[in-house]
């Protein structure tokens, strides 16, 4: 790197910003260093959680009430078909995409692991003597922890999406797939921008946005390299499509001399024409817009005679275990178009005050499904339990992923690979309860136990589930266990209903 390498204007005096966040919300915290129940307990208890919840409830109504009027429902059906059609021949479409991008003059790198992806991008940066990178928001770059990797190599990386810029200054991970700073209040942002500016700024959202715009504009102009994600990669033309509202995606893909686009394998779509379905659907699902502000469609680097655009285009396609999901019962999880609607719709996500409480890169329902399936399948295996299985996510999903069913099935996978003791316990339980006499004995047992003062409380205290229930809740009224059966049997002697065993009685 040479001495004239530009330094970021947007991040100037970044160290003056006071970082105030729990460890599990940090930008580069490896997932699951602490037990998930502890993280969720702390997340709910944070003072910001309630305000975030209130805002998200409001957003949920605006975006998700009456989500599928007939014309959008039709689009949803078409998109569901397109996405599943793609997954059926994922390898074929990725091959076609690779040929198309290369034919347009781009370089394509297939990365099996996050390490591979980071290394390729690091090499491109080094080869071009890159000192300053402007980046548009991309979840896959979070998945591969790209920014810390480049920073260690002396490359400055600036997040240019306003929400991403805010969480970068706060040294946090994005709190939502498309709304990274969803958990920040305007006061939080105002305070950080004041510290950055070293002066008291006006604090309305318009004014805060203008401040960030001014700071980032210089970086767009001077950066050596742009890094972007990809919303849809069209196999037929090799066109990489970014969907944004702020215009930073267009800046990042057109102004610096090198453009690196990073995507995961499932972002491929068969045809450019599919954007006519997918872009309006994504816009509707994500933000309730008819269509998002900008779709930047990049087909190769600049061509001879063109006055602007990058000299080089690199496409990094990350797998990280995804192709192993194809053909399994979880294949449809790859149909996701990353709209974030399931997160907004999820009452658990909202009550946690955003995605940090999931302690993983991808939070919310899609995160709880995807995280255990990708990588080496060691991270976030217990995330599927962090759901009440209410099903609100499936209602809003634009590509109809059966998220609640997947959460149930992933729980079974988790337990199948887990300890023997719970398996034996549930097996015994089911044998016992499939036997009516034994079931009735256990009901009677609960009734008797409840009549011994303190016994139920003592028993509850001996099991993790009992202790969990007792946190903030009275014990259920087991004293009357079996009352209905006794009542029914008693009165059926005199009149009215029948008592009978049915065929299940053994």
């Amino acid at each position: 790197m040479n001495a004239e390498t530009p330094r970021s204007a947007a991040l100037r005096n970044r160290d003056n910003v006071q970082v105030d966040r729990p460890e599990w919300a940090a930008a580069d915290t490896p997932p699951h260093r602490r037990p998930l129940p502890l993280v969720t307990r702390e997340a709910v208890a944070r003072p910001q959680a309630r305000a975030t919840n209130d805002r998200l409830i409001d957003t949920n109504h605006r975006r998700n009430d009456d989500k599928w009027p007939p014309h959008m429902a039709a689009l949803r059906e078409r998109a569901s078909v397109i996405r599943r059609e793609t997954l059926r021949d994922l390898d074929g479409y990725l091959g076609q995409l690779t040929r198309s991008v290369e034919a347009a003059g781009g370089h394509v790198h297939r990365a099996a692991t996050p390490e591979d992806a980071r290394r390729v991008i690091g090499e491109v940066a080094a080869a071009h003597d890159v000192g300053l990178v402007v980046k548009s928001k991309s979840m896959v770059t979070e998945e591969i922890a790209l920014t810390p990797y480049l920073e260690e190599r002396g490359v400055e990386v600036v997040e240019t999406d306003l929400g991403e810029y805010i969480v970068q200054l706060a040294d946090e991970r994005p709190g939502h797939i498309i709304g990274p700073a969803i958990h920040k209040s305007r006061e939080d942002v105002h305070k950080m921008f004041n510290e950055l500016a070293g002066e008291e700024l006006p604090g309305r959202p318009e004014e805060l946005t203008a401040f960030a715009r001014g700071r980032l504009r210089e970086d767009f102009h001077r950066a050596d390299m742009g890094i972007s994600g990809v919303n849809f990669a069209c196999a037929d033309t090799g066109t990489l499509t970014l969907v944004t509202n702020e215009g930073n995606g267009r800046m990042v893909t057109s102004q610096p001399r090198v453009h690196v686009a990073v995507m995961t394998v499932e972002k491929v779509v068969p045809r450019l024409a599919d954007l006519g379905v997918l872009v309006p659907l994504l816009s509707h699902a994500a933000t309730g817009q008819k269509v998002s502000g900008y779709q930047s469609m990049v087909t190769g680097p600049r061509r001879p005679g063109e006055p602007d655009g990058p000299d080089e285009l690199h496409l990094v396609i990350l797998d990280n275990g995804r192709t192993d999901i194809v053909g399994t019962r979880y294949e449809e999880a790859l149909a996701c178009i990353r709209c974030g609607a399931c997160q907004i719709a999820c009452p658990v996500f909202r009550t946690l005050g955003g995605g940090h409480g999931y302690d993983s890169v991808y939070g919310g329902p899609i995160g709880a499904v995807l995280t255990p399936l990708i990588g080496d399948r060691s991270e976030g295996a217990d995330l599927p339990f962090l759901s009440s299985l209410c099903g609100a996510c499936a209602d809003v999903c634009p590509v109809q992923i059966p998220l609640p069913d997947m959460l149930v099935d992933l729980r079974a996978d988790y337990e199948a690979g887990g300890g023997r003791a719970p398996r034996v316990a549930w097996s015994l339980w089911s044998r016992f309860w499939a036997w009516p006499a034994a079931y009735r004995i256990s009901v009677r047992g609960a009734r008797v136990a409840a009549r011994v003062p303190g016994l139920v409380r003592a028993l509850a205290g001996r099991s993790a589930l009992g202790r969990g229930w007792a946190r903030g809740r009275a014990l259920p009224p087991l004293r009357r266990a079996g009352d209905a059966r006794r009542w029914f049997a008693r009165r059926s002697g005199d009149a009215g209903g029948r008592t009978e065993g049915g065929r299940g009685e053994r």
Binding site: V348, G391, A392, P476
Partner: protein, 251 residues
């Protein structure tokens, strides 16, 4: 099949209590029997019934769950209709049984599921003539599985709407989860209780004195939270409310 002749109720009706009601909520089971009898039906409470298997399934143990599912099918197959005070268990039969069971069991599950009802569904379909009267202002919590797996939004409101003297006020977030979620309630208690508090606050703010739902699971959880916090809202299962209203019309 009930679908073909919606006006005439099946005669031979079995009540499925659910394990949570057997253990902690006998009232809704008694009320379900009373209401069905008031409709002039021949009501059974099969002694061989146990649990639908949902606790095991949602805890990650589909094998043990299947054992209980098969038992459930055997117990309830002989009846013209199955009626339950638990929307969640009804939804499990309807949605999970065919999905989780294989082969002929799945087919049998579909057949029984087609004539299995949550109580308010049954009353909405066959109880149009049932006189009901109750002076009360209530708010209704849509339990998630009944709302989304069973797709039932209107039946409880239809039935409540038929009760003379009853006023239904919709609370904010009536379609939002109360935080029960089976073992979720115990694994992530702070999140679960946080959701319960929002539900209880919404019910309180609605001005209704009574928080009504069609799920003993939700109500056990919500009541336990109300008791722990000495809250003012009272909870009531919809079966008990309907039974009260049937009795109220007889007075």
């Amino acid at each position: 099949m009930p679908d073909e002749q919606p006006a005439r109720a099946p005669r031979n009706v079995a009540v499925f209590a659910s394990c949570i009601a057997d253990l902690a909520a006998p009232g809704p089971v008694r009320a379900t029997v009373r209401v069905l009898e008031a409709m002039g039906l021949d009501v059974a409470l099969p002694a061989g019934q146990t649990c639908c298997g949902q606790p095991a399934l949602n805890s990650g143990f589909p094998g043990p769950a299947r054992r209980l599912m098969r038992h459930w099918i055997e117990v309830f197959e002989p009846y013209d209709a199955v009626v339950s005070p638990s929307g969640s268990c009804t939804a499990t039969v309807f949605h999970q049984y065919p999905r989780v069971l294989g082969g002929t069991w799945a087919a049998r599950a579909r057949e029984v599921a087609a004539r299995t009802y949550e109580l308010s569904q049954f009353v909405a379909a066959y109880g149009a003539d049932l006189p009901m009267r109750l002076d009360a202002t209530v708010t209704y919590h849509d339990s998630c599985h009944m709302l989304r797996s069973l797709g039932e939004r209107s039946a409880p409101r239809t039935v409540l709407g038929r009760v003379d003297g009853l006023r239904l006020v919709e609370m904010a977030e009536h379609e939002t989860c109360c935080g029960f979620g089976g073992t979720f309630a115990a694994k992530f208690p702070e999140v679960s209780v946080g959701l319960a508090d929002q539900k209880i606050a919404a019910a309180t703010d609605s001005g209704a004195g009574l928080l009504v739902s069609a799920d003993p699971g939700c109500l056990t959880h919500l009541t336990a939270r109300v008791v722990d916090t000495r809250g003012a809202v009272r909870t009531r299962h919809i079966a008990e409310l309907i039974a009260d209203a049937v009795e109220g019309a007889q007075e």
